[in-house]
């Protein structure tokens, strides 16, 4: 009953394995990562964006992929910030300031529709520099440049002025090319610890950019510091009061614990006293980069006599063309869909949560110790 191709492999499964490998390709090494990220997303809005080698066009592909990336970025890094810079007509322009609100960035990106002229790598990087140099030293500074054209229109020599400044400010510049790689881009990426990648198709573009959602390992010696943060409570009052961010009357909001002003959403910086306001769930959300769950190993269904069943969704293995995986810690079996969900979105192994592995599990102990402190 098993379908095989001429090499004796089951073709349908091979395809699924590949998909899984591609999607779960993050490094699970324990390294120090810059948890609070400040990212400038530079978009090349030159006229080359109208080319139709990516379907329906590079422009639409770029917009939809970046929208997905911004959402994923803030989901994975809730206390990080992002700013969007576009470059066209040999100029660069910041269309959204560094902030933590995904919808504002996506709206700004959609509002800037006109694509024209040539890009300017140097101008774009200079704008990014001027944005990122005010960021506190403990946060990581990154630029992701999505370049679509093969030319650049720069005012001076980028090698003499911009690159040393980038190095000095410890800004990591990574490039994603929609067309082909440029020597200067690769040069910049190499000298700033970034990466330079060329995409193959729309899907690969999505995969490549999504890899940047995981915080990169911090470079060299990073200044660590204790950051003062406020944990405001959310109040709903019967009388609307002014919020500080929109200057509108709102019924509910977060009250800054230091100055008592009202903000509409978290995380943000209090505009009155400049205290960074976060909520404890946001901090807890960032912990999964530090305590990752192990990759599951493929489970050979021939090993068991009875019908195997996914532990978490109860999906039985009725047909043979299904992949099953088992967790190395708790040895429970999961189906492919659950495996992807667990690693991409949930970041919890239901089996390990169920304490099937209490005796030999140091990682979870560590995790729990941290959790103790965060009970509210």
């Amino acid at each position: 009953m098993i379908e095989e191709d001429e090499k004796g492999l089951r073709p349908s499964l091979q395809e699924e394995r590949k998909i899984r490998d591609r999607r779960l390709r993050h490094d699970d090494k324990r390294v120090r990562r810059g948890m609070q990220r400040h990212l400038c997303l530079v978009l090349d809005f030159s006229k080359t964006l109208l080319l139709q080698d990516l379907k329906p066009s590079r422009y639409h592909c770029l917009l939809s992929t970046c929208e997905a990336f911004i959402k994923e970025y803030f989901d994975q890094n809730p206390i990080s910030q992002l700013s969007i810079i576009i470059t066209k007509n040999s100029k660069a322009e910041k269309i959204s300031e560094l902030s933590g609100n995904p919808s504002r960035h996506i709206q700004a990106m959609k509002d800037s529709i006109a694509t024209e002229g040539e890009p300017s790598i140097q101008n774009a990087l200079d704008v990014a520099l001027s944005t990122l140099c005010y960021v506190p030293k403990y946060g990581s500074r990154e630029v992701i440049f999505i370049s679509s054209s093969l030319t650049s229109c720069d005012p001076t020599d980028i090698q003499k002025t911009t690159i040393p400044q980038l190095q000095q400010e410890q800004i990591r510049v990574s490039f994603i090319h929609l067309a082909a790689e440029l020597h200067i881009c690769k040069f910049i990426a190499e000298h700033t610890n970034g990466s330079s990648k060329v995409i193959l198709n729309e899907e690969h573009f999505q995969d490549t950019i999504m890899l940047s959602c995981q915080p990169p390992p911090s470079m060299g010696k990073v200044e660590a510091s204790l950051v003062e943060m406020g944990f405001p409570q959310r109040y709903t009052s019967t009388i609307p009061t002014l919020c500080i961010c929109h200057e509108k009357f709102k019924y509910s909001g977060y009250i800054c614990p230091r100055c008592g002003s009202k903000s509409c959403e978290l995380p943000t910086d209090c505009q009155i006293c400049n205290l960074s306001l976060v909520s404890s769930p946001h901090l807890a959300r960032s912990y999964h980069h530090l305590f990752q769950i192990p990759l599951f190993q493929e489970f050979n269904w021939r090993d068991s006599d009875s019908i195997i069943k996914c532990f978490s969704c109860l999906l039985p293995s009725l047909n043979t063309s299904q992949l099953y995986f088992s967790c190395p810690r708790c040895h429970q079996v999961f189906c492919l869909d659950c495996d992807l969900l667990i690693h991409e979105s949930l970041h919890n192994c239901p089996g390990c949560e169920n304490n099937f592995d209490q005796s030999h599990n140091n990682d979870n102990d560590n995790n729990n110790n941290n959790g103790n402190g965060n009970s509210h």
Partner: protein, 319 residues
Amino acid sequence: MVIIESTDEEEYDTSLLVIIVDTNIYSWGNRILQMSNKTESTSSTKLGSSLIGFNTFVEHLMVFINLHLMLNQENQIAVISSQIGEARFLFPEPHQSQSTKSEQKSIQNIILGKLLHLDTTIKETNQESTSSNFSAALSLSLCYINRIKKEVPIIRPRIFVLNISPDASSQYISVMNCIFSAQKQSIPLDTCILSQQDSTFLQQASHLTNGIYLKPQRQENLSQYLISTFLMDTYSRKLLQCPTLKSVDYRATCFCHKRIVDIGFVCSVCLSIFCSYSSSCSTCGTKFSLKIEIPKSRKSLSQPSSQEQPTNNKDKVEY
């Protein structure tokens, strides 16, 4: 395209309801104690908040489950129990091969049978911790929803938690992971608290996922609360006035003294929270640069008491 989708939304109002029932034997046992104390003191009826035992609770729950299934022929249900140290499916049964659409009576029987069985199994286990494994139950329900969504893409899932045990702080991170995953898939998480204390976890969960948080005052009328608040699907909620929370506590607890803090110091490397400034992080051992002495002095001026306890950080975990 968008217009068609929105009409679709109104037409297909089938929903998948995953109910997480807290069957912690200690909490329900305490409940019996509380109830007997109440009946001894004569002024019990004046207090207003009346409590119910497990049997009555299950009766109310069954009414609710049956109503949910009768509301729409294609409505689906899953029931997960979170008990001490473990979470498991009550319905659908894990050991049955692909359960076909069984009638409502048998669903009720399955759940009741499972609940009867549960009580005996808990007594045999002898574990130190007495908290329900809520995070495992949430993880299971999210995986199950993921599967049903693949099978029936138009179904609208939601999670309903009936909780009686206090929060277990050791589960905080895993519960938060689940909540953010639910938020990303826009699955609302409704909560009905049967104990007398509010649950901070579930307040945050309901607020973050746009769910309803309710602590019924008169528990003998539980089915009334369930029907009027938790029965409607996600679409009709937009048209109705749902109970809102007056305040949600998003404050954190510091790692060093387990105090609740409004303003804390967060290590930039491992994101540990401390209530006062120190020169190195006790969790990850990082030495901090002395450049941000300024906030320290400001803090110590306003709150001299925070310096009283010496930081005994040396015996903490390092990784």
